[in-house]
Symmetry: C2
Subunit: 129 residues, 2 copies
């Protein structure tokens, strides 16, 4: 299949697919006579793997490491585990931050009665303090 079909099947944009290839995350595809990229089942699976990692917010550099580890099936998976745990702690941290943000934003919204002028606006006041 050509890049357009792979793009539709996976939901990755064409540019993103080419970008992943350039970054060494997808194996180099064959080409047609006219220099079009040609993909098979394998590329599809590689791309789904990357997509799944990205949906977990795993940065591309770590995705790359995971792919390399996948290709060394006899090694210990301790580093895979470490990577995922690190990702988990990042997510936890970000969630705590967002909780605080949410509380403050809610407080701000509740301090605003829309009939106000900017001058009297509780939101601007709280941003100012």
């Amino acid at each position: 299949m050509k890049i357009g079909e792979l793009s539709k099947t996976t939901g990755c944009s064409i540019q993103t697919i080419r970008y992943y290839e350039k970054e060494g995350l997808l194996s180099t595809p064959e080409r047609t006579e006219g220099n079009y990229r040609l993909y098979g089942e394998r590329a599809l699976k590689e791309l789904e793997f990357i997509k799944h990692c990205r949906s977990l917010d795993i940065p591309l550099i770590d995705v790359k490491r995971l792919i390399e580890l996948k290709n060394k099936p006899e090694e210990s998976c301790a580093s895979v585990n470490a990577l995922i745990e690190q990702q988990l702690s990042l997510v936890n941290k970000r969630m705590r931050e967002l909780k605080a943000l949410k509380a403050e934003l809610q407080q701000m919204v509740s301090s605003c009665t829309t009939e106000n002028t900017v001058e009297a606006c509780g939101i601007i006041k709280s941003l100012d303090s």
Copy 2:
């Protein structure tokens, strides 16, 4: 005060301060004879306002709008409110996403017994599916 002092007082890096100025978020400072930027109380307040907005993840373009609104105190603050509410809904959306991420990552971590090889690794398996 010079830029280094402003940087220390506010915790913004020197480059960030210059960046905010270039983007039109800070008013243009006076200069010494030797072309050094000179700041006073006003710049300090402007910068604190920006910092506070940024700590709420409000994008710079919206911070700029808020600053403009601040300078029109007689107008209605409805658009201030809309902006903050939009920000709140973004935060909510992101929190829902992170919750789902967290659940999946935890599931993955629990599927890994560190003695495994990569081949048998539950994490890699779940990323593959």
